[in-house]
């Protein structure tokens, strides 16, 4: 269910301090931050346009364009880097025919990297949506992706 600007303002409040929670809620509901909706929130609250947009483009959690149904995030932490995360990213890029920060043409997957997920002992680590996968190898990644293609397509 997609909610209106009014809803977010009523739910979270009108002060600038509510900018991030409101954007987080919109992101959770819409999967991205529609510009028009952000502007409407500004009009119904005390949040200024420039501040709202500044925040929306500052934090890596937010995105201004829709993402794929499944978001693959590779941990780019030190331990994962040392353990060869880059190879996995290249392999997935190849598998899905997209680069980092892109979405597959069928809208099924988006590929991203993320600052450390804090599972360093299980490096290299990958996260799909909210699920974290540790001790990844190229074979395991391909297997998991196959599973998503088959079961999380619709």
């Amino acid at each position: 269910m997609q909610k209106s600007a009014e809803f977010y303002v009523n739910e979270y409040g009108v002060d600038e301090a509510k900018t991030i929670p409101i954007l987080q809620a919109i992101q959770a509901d819409y999967g991205y931050l529609p510009i028009k909706l952000m502007q409407e929130v500004c009009e119904k609250s005390n949040i200024h346009y420039n501040r709202m947009y500044g925040v929306a483009t500052f934090y890596s959690q937010f995105n201004l364009t829709p993402k794929g149904k499944n978001i693959i995030r590779f941990c780019a932490g030190t331990a994962c880097h040392v353990k060869g995360a880059e190879k996995l990213i290249i392999a997935v890029s190849e598998e899905l025919k997209i680069r980092v920060n892109e979405t597959t043409s069928n809208g099924l997957f988006s590929l991203e990297t993320v600052a450390c997920l804090g599972c360093c002992s299980l490096a290299p680590v990958m996260m799909i949506n909210d699920k974290v996968y540790g001790k990844m190898t190229i074979a395991k990644v391909k297997e998991i992706l196959m599973d998503y293609k088959q079961h999380h397509g619709q």
């Binding site: 420039n50 501040r51 500052f58 890596s60």
Partner: protein, 681 residues
């Protein structure tokens, strides 16, 4: 009150003030970019760093309160080098040309081209001429003969064709003359200093012009009976009519009280030492008139003529009888002048050049020469000349191009299977000139006989302790463009002036500017909005007349046509070029604008708003516009977006400024240290 020390001065300061304010109260200026009076300190730019010696800390002066006991240094070596690096970093992400490339990289004399075209388009011809004369006192002559290196770097090359620049100088001068010009600025009060200049060519005349304007009295010693040097005796009249030379040069010597001793050859008629002893400074600009040899057998035959001699005779109206078939050897402007002159005398002319068309220095005239019947033989070199009967037999060999040589041009290599012989009546050799320095003290010369000068001040080196002897122009460089000689003349005048003022002789400061990069490397989006407008064409006189006379070949355009042409200028120079803190500090701190060349912000302008213009590519992210708009206007139009290197300052939601509620109050423009945001008009 708090007692603290700044740059060794201990003082009592009002409590609660910043180090910046405290320093200011002592008359110590600390540079700032993001500091705005009466607004809370922000500390983003970092240029105001100072060192607190007794805390071993580097802090921003704008945002650090002065506290009791602080021992502060604002300008020590480490602080200066920090500020220099900071400016270099800012330049590394600042995409803009302070000065347009035509003036900065194209014109050796750095003439303000954008400026004079703008004045011309407004019909302000006298002002335009005066602007040109700030850098070069010969607008009419240059407007006719300059090969226009400015046009080669004109950004319009990337849109359609370069703006016509060269000819406009001539037109501006003609308009000025027709209203009573040429006009010169007032001479300064007499300095009672005397300068001798040896040679009245473009370098000498130019130096005389600027020295005289500065109040010094100038005497020129000229070997010939008339002014102009190679402009008169080397350049054919069809390119530069005599009356133009007379009017332009006579006006300078007459109006500026420049004394010229004609028909005096220094070194022969008067001793060099004598001149040195009589004047406060001496400037040598005696040109480069001796011809190089071709180094082929048979070149000493009387029917093998040197181009310099040939052109000199034509200039002083001595008849030259050329045969029917003439070969010119060489690829420079002298070779071209000789070829086209020979064609006018009715000969069949072939120009022979050992490299290809692409390498040819005078390639700008090839088309016109071909129209006049000159035949070109590229990649051919002479091997020897034989004489049989009344004819010359020129033995030639074809060349192929090898690897680039030290001049950067590909070196021609003989192809031994390609020899051939031409039967001709005359051969004119134009393979370069060199300078006769035999009459100068040998200690001034290098082993090869060249004059050695300091490249910044033009003072002659090894002149046994003299700091008042200068040399310039072709005499030093060998044959070069007139505009290059003019530039050198002006720079020498600056050095001499420094000498006379008693200040350190450092020469003219080179133009300090940030640049967007080389013409061909610039991003295409820079030009996507420029409309194509056809370049005007200067009509040439009838070919028949061209082939039978030395009449000036270029005609002119009418006022409207010139005006439209001047409006083709893209105005690449920055609106803030004389009011930019980044440029000012960069110059003061000797920041190398290219030190940290790397990824740069993209070309991005927002000219949607009628009054307020945004050049995001010139923004240095100091945040002043954001803060002033928020705190003074409460409008919240500008904001930071993104993070890291990609962070930028832009209008809300990345909108065009016209789509925001900006009411053009202009506060942001007042605080912007660059041309990131500026008010139109």
């Amino acid at each position: 009150m708090s007692k603290a020390t700044i740059n060794g001065i201990t003082n009592d300061f009002v409590d609660g003030i910043s180090i910046l304010e405290a320093a200011k109260s002592l008359g110590i200026e600390i540079p700032t970019l993001c500091h705005i009076e009466n607004l809370e300190a922000f500390g983003s730019c970092g240029i105001c760093v100072v060192e607190i010696k007794n805390q071993n800390k580097v802090v921003p002066a704008c945002a650090t309160k002065l506290l009791e006991g602080m021992d502060i240094e604002t300008h020590n070596d480490s602080i200066l080098s920090t500020r220099k690096m900071l400016l270099e970093l800012l330049f590394s992400d600042h995409l803009g040309d302070c000065v347009p490339p035509c003036s900065l990289k194209g014109c050796p004399a750095n003439i303000n081209i954008q400026g004079f075209l703008d004045l011309e388009s407004k019909g302000k011809y006298n002002e335009a001429a005066a602007l040109i004369r700030e850098k070069a006192p010969l607008p009419n002559i240059l407007g006719r003969i300059c090969p226009k290196p400015c046009e080669k770097v004109c950004l319009r090359n990337r849109v359609d064709e370069p703006v016509m620049i060269g000819v406009q100088k001539r037109y501006i001068a003609e308009k000025e003359w027709s209203s009573g010009g040429p006009f010169f600025p007032h001479r300064a009060k007499s300095s009672h200093k005397r300068v001798a200049i040896i040679g009245a060519g473009p370098a000498g005349i130019t130096a005389a012009y600027y020295l005289s304007l500065n109040g010094h009295s100038v005497v020129i010693y000229e070997k010939q009976a008339k002014l102009g040097g190679m402009m008169r005796f080397g350049i054919p009249k069809y390119r530069l009519p005599e009356d133009v030379i007379d009017t332009e040069l006579n006006a300078i010597v007459d109006k500026l009280n420049i004394d010229v001793s004609y028909n005096v050859e220094v070194g022969k008629d008067i001793d060099v030492e004598e001149i040195i002893s009589k004047f406060d400074a001496v400037v040598f600009s005696h040109g480069s008139q001796l011809s190089n040899k071709m180094n082929v057998d048979g070149e000493h035959h009387e029917k093998v003529i040197k181009a310099v001699d040939f052109l000199y005779k034509l200039a002083i109206n001595i008849d030259v009888n050329l045969g029917k078939d003439v070969v010119i050897i060489g690829g420079g402007h002298t070779a071209m002048d000789a070829a086209r002159s020979a064609a006018r005398l009715g000969s069949n002319v072939t120009l022979m050049y050992r490299r290809s068309e692409k390498e040819m220095p005078a390639k700008d005239e090839i088309k016109e020469a071909k129209d006049e019947g000159v035949v070109f033989e590229f990649l051919v070199a002479p091997e020897r000349i034989k004489r049989k009967g009344g004819k010359l037999y020129l033995h030639c060999i074809r060349m192929i191009l090898g690897e680039p040589d030290e001049s950067g041009r590909r070196k021609p290599i003989p192809n031994s299977n390609s020899r051939f012989v031409l039967e001709v009546d005359n051969i004119i050799s134009a393979v370069g000139q060199f300078t006769d320095n035999s009459w100068l003290p040998s200690s001034w010369l290098s082993e090869k006989g060249h004059l050695q000068v300091n490249p910044s001040t033009y003072q002659i080196q090894n002149s046994s302790g003299h700091n008042n002897i200068f040399a310039m122009g072709d005499a030093v460089t060998g044959p070069d463009l007139v505009v290059t000689a003019v530039a050198a003349g002006r720079k020498v005048a600056a050095s001499v002036n420094q000498l006379f003022l008693g200040s350190a002789v450092t020469g003219e400061e080179p133009v300090y500017a940030s640049t967007c990069g080389e013409l061909n490397d610039l991003p295409q989006e820079m030009f996507s909005k420029a409309k194509k407008i056809a370049r005007a064409n200067i009509p040439l006189i009838d070919k028949d007349i061209r082939l039978t006379s030395f009449n000036q070949i270029e005609e002119s355009l009418n006022e409207e046509e010139f005006r439209e042409e001047s409006l083709r200028c893209l105005k690449c120079g920055c609106v803030a070029q004389n009011d930019c803190k980044l440029r000012e500090y960069g110059y003061n701190y000797k920041a190398d604008t290219k030190k940290f060349a790397g990824e740069k912000r993209k070309y991005e302008k927002d000219f949607s708003h009628l009054d307020i213009k945004l050049e995001i590519d010139k923004c240095i992210s100091c945040g002043s516009c954001v803060r002033v708009c928020e705190s003074i206007k409460k409008y919240y139009i500008f904001g930071y977006i993104n993070r890291g290197f990609t962070s930028k300052i832009k209008p809300e939601f990345n909108r065009r400024l016209i789509d925001t509620k900006c009411d053009a109050c202009g506060k942001c423009c007042e605080v912007c240290p660059t041309a990131g945001v500026w008010k139109h008009g």
